[in-house]
């Protein structure tokens, strides 16, 4: 446990704590595993839903990505992070949500959670967000410590935002890249110095919402989309990696209606989107002909723009 530097462990009481409208409980796992299409198992870390108990010391692995947090606009939310023991430090940053400093989950402006902390915030704007750990972030987010965060309008799922378009089918595509060499590092890697190579990401796996985009994501339930003509699809696209991405919608044309949790002044028609790390785009599709559309996400080198890899999934319109 020794050797971590520039961490700020604490578990204070939540300032001005009130009774929330909704509570999410999260604890940590550090020994998850994702099986890739080539048969390799890659270690991942993340959050599990520990509702109903304090959770353990992370002995049982957990889902990747971490379970979604889904709330309605106007709700006061408690996100309880249980990080018992003194094994490691983590936080939850609700990315795109803008709470007080104490509830922002950034170690060096507040604290890294050791024990339990209840993040208190109120969802002001419907849209697509994600949450992730903000301790030694360069490593912890790469290790998979993130999950979707969806704020529905007050009327609930089925509409992107109040006054915005409705949808029948929803897909959440969190597109990420792994450099498997990073996935054997300790939680506090190089926080005191030394060269752990954390400036140099050389991805060898390309992932859509926790599934290998080489082959599995083409058909994986919860990733690949099946819908009928006449239905409206909402794709919530999250660049959950570090490198720029280009997502092509397989010949379908969609309308970007919101980004980063804010409606656009007017929808923008797209057949592909370029994004950078942590951007979110909400895209509405109304396909008028049946077919199988292969969606491709290209992961681009941040220096020369070359394609480092690709992940694919499908939209099947019956």
């Amino acid at each position: 446990m020794g050797g971590a530097c520039y961490v700020y462990p604490d578990s204070p009481a939540t300032p001005d704590r009130v009774t929330p409208d909704v509570t999410f409980e999260r604890t940590i796992y550090m020994n998850g595993s994702v099986r890739m299409d080539d048969g390799r198992n890659i270690t991942v870390w993340g959050f599990t839903d520990s509702g109903g108990g304090m959770g353990g010391m992370g002995g049982m692995g957990g889902p990747f990505p971490s379970p979604a947090i889904r709330v309605r606009e106007g709700q006061i939310v408690h996100t309880v992070l249980n990080n018992p023991g003194m094994m490691w430090l983590h936080t939850i940053h609700h990315h795109g949500i803008e709470p007080s400093t104490m509830n922002d989950g950034v170690g060096h402006t507040s604290f890294d959670v050791q024990g339990t902390y209840t993040y208190q915030w109120r969802a002001a704007h419907a849209g697509t967000y994600f949450y992730h750990c903000h301790t030694n972030t360069v490593l912890h987010a790469e290790m998979g410590m993130y999950g979707a965060l969806i704020v529905d309008p007050p009327e609930g799922p089925g509409r992107v935002f109040s006054g915005g378009p409705s949808y029948d089918v929803e897909a959440i595509w969190a597109c990420d890249e792994f450099d498997s060499r990073w996935h054997n590092l300790p939680w506090d890697a190089a926080t005191c110095g030394g060269d752990a190579g954390l400036n140099d990401l050389n991805p060898d796996y390309f992932i859509i919402t926790g599934v290998d985009g080489n082959r599995s994501a083409l058909t994986a339930p919860g990733v690949a989309v099946t819908m009928n003509r006449g239905q409206t699809l909402l794709v919530r696209y999250i660049n959950a990696g570090y490198y720029p991405q280009r997502i092509r919608f397989g010949g379908l044309t969609g309308q970007v209606v919101s980004s980063d949790g804010r409606p656009l002044p007017a929808p923008v028609t797209v057949s592909e989107i370029n994004s950078v790390s942590a951007e979110r785009y909400d895209v509405i599709f109304n396909p008028d002909s049946s077919g199988v559309y292969t969606v491709e996400i290209e992961y681009l080198d941040w220096i020369d723009g070359s394609v480092l890899g690709m992940a694919r999934t499908r939209i099947t319109v019956n």
């Binding site: 446990m1 020794g2 050797g3 971590a4 530097c5 520039y6 700020y8 462990p9 604490d10 001005d16 006061i76 609700h94 990315h95 795109g96 949500i97 803008e98 709470p99 007080s100 400093t101 509830n103 950034v106 170690g107 060096h108 402006t109 208190q120 915030w121 109120r122 969802a123 002001a124 704007h125 972030t137 360069v138 790469e142 506090d188 190089a190 926080t191 005191c192 110095g193 060269d195 752990a196 190579g197 954390l198 400036n199 140099d200 570090y242 490198y243 720029p244 980063d260 949790g261 804010r262 002044p265 007017a266 370029n274 950078v276 790390s277 942590a278 951007e279 941040w302 220096i303 723009g305």
Partner: protein, 392 residues
């Protein structure tokens, strides 16, 4: 501070909550942090020293610093934190002098890296150069003294190109300040190497008669900053210093905003605004509710970046010099590489998701979300391209 020291303190009940004190860490004056922006209105003849001279000659000549400041028609000095600007009804002549210099800068992990820069003095190393603000229609005269032995240039795309300035010589370029906006000035010789190793800076051209617009009719701001990003591969800097063309693949190990990286609480130089981008008055965003802050973001480096602000969504006004057809509100904005640029406004609205609501006493981070940039030398998370946002 090592984690186990924290633990020891915690167990001894001596642990002191650093974050409770952080609101008190700031710089009470803005004038001591940085020299004033050295742009002066000259109503007298242009400065001496336009003729090409040798390094030895002009280094002894200080008379070019003797500008007339009588009859100033407007204020164009920037003090400390935010660059102040007062509009003028009439165009002026702006004279600025830069010295091309070089030297070493110690990075967060203790490694010294060579840089060259457009400096305000012959002995300085202003990497990046001090930013300049002028007004549409102004005549701008820039005198560049190349104190080095190598050839350099001074270029603003679309505005001016000095051509080669051989080592040990000086030149003056003049141009009419054209369209309002944010510009990078840089050295085009050996592109991109001289630009990458530090020869760059920011120029703003303000619209006529306006103190609060990016271009005529743009959304307005109350204060403005330049953010110049750069990515540092010390192997490249070393090669360029030795006059060689880098042959290795570009692998940046340090990531700068306005020439320095951030430092976290407990680190050496944490409170030093010349060492910690969190407290660098050129970079830190500080204001009260309503203090809409324009960020003129210029990427001198080779990497595409994802800029992420906590606390507020930004208004994304321009991309690569062009007003955007729609102004989007974003918490992440792309910054293209190799001189990509954006103008964005941090609105200083109450953080929308705080409960109970807050309007002051908050601090947030701005950091790049391509998190490799949050490191130095392959580790040291929190020693990368980041700064602080302070709700006073």
């Amino acid at each position: 501070m090592p984690y186990d020291s924290f633990m020891t303190n915690l167990l001894n009940n001596n642990y002191h909550n650093d974050y409770h004190n952080k609101n008190n860490i700031h710089f009470s004056t803005t004038t001591t942090c940085l020299p004033i922006l050295q742009i002066m209105l000259s109503l007298s003849a242009a400065i001496d020293g336009r003729s090409k001279t040798t390094k030895g000659v002009y280094m002894q000549r200080r008379d070019f610093l003797k500008f007339s400041t009588l009859g100033l028609a407007g204020s164009v000095t920037g003090l400390g934190t935010f660059l102040s600007w007062s509009p003028r009804a009439n165009a002026a002549t702006i004279d600025q002098t830069f010295y091309i210099t070089d030297g070493m800068r110690t990075q967060a992990d203790g490694i010294d890296v060579w840089f060259q820069a457009y400096s305000s003095t012959s002995t300085g190393l202003d990497y990046p150069a001090q930013s300049m603000i002028v007004q549409e229609g102004d005549t701008v005269n820039i005198t560049i003294h190349n104190t080095l032995g190598t050839t350099h240039s001074f270029v603003i795309d679309g505005l001016v190109d000095s051509g080669d300035i051989p080592g040990g010589t000086s030149t003056t370029v003049s141009f009419l300040a054209g369209s309002a906006g944010s510009y990078l000035f840089y050295d085009r010789v050996n592109l991109p190497y001289n630009r990458l190793t530090g020869l760059h800076g920011g120029l703003a051209i303000m619209p006529k008669n306006s103190s609060n617009e990016i271009y005529a009719g743009s959304p307005t701001f109350k204060q403005q900053l330049f953010w110049l990003y750069n990515d540092i591969d010390p192997a490249w800097h070393d090669a360029i210093r030795q006059g060689r063309t880098p042959t290795s693949k570009f692998k940046p190990r340090y990531f700068h905003i306005n020439g320095i990286s951030a430092r976290p609480p407990g680190s050496t130089n944490y409170t030093d605004p010349t060492k910690n981008a969190f407290y660098d008055p050129r970079s830190q965003i500080s204001g009260k509710i309503g203090d809409r802050t324009l960020l003129r973001v210029l990427n001198a480096g080779m990497c595409v970046h994802s800029m992420h602000w906590h606390g507020n969504h930004l208004e994304w006004i321009t991309r690569n010099g062009q007003p955007r057809a729609q102004i989007w509100k974003k918490d992440v904005i792309a910054l293209e590489n190799n001189m990509g640029k954006v103008d964005v406004i941090y609105p200083f609205e109450p953080p929308p998701d705080a409960w109970p609501p807050v309007t002051s006493g908050q601090q947030y981070v701005m950091h790049l979300h391509d998190e490799m940039t949050q490191t130095a030398g392959g580790g040291l998370y929190q020693f990368g391209a980041a700064t602080l946002i302070k709700f006073k």
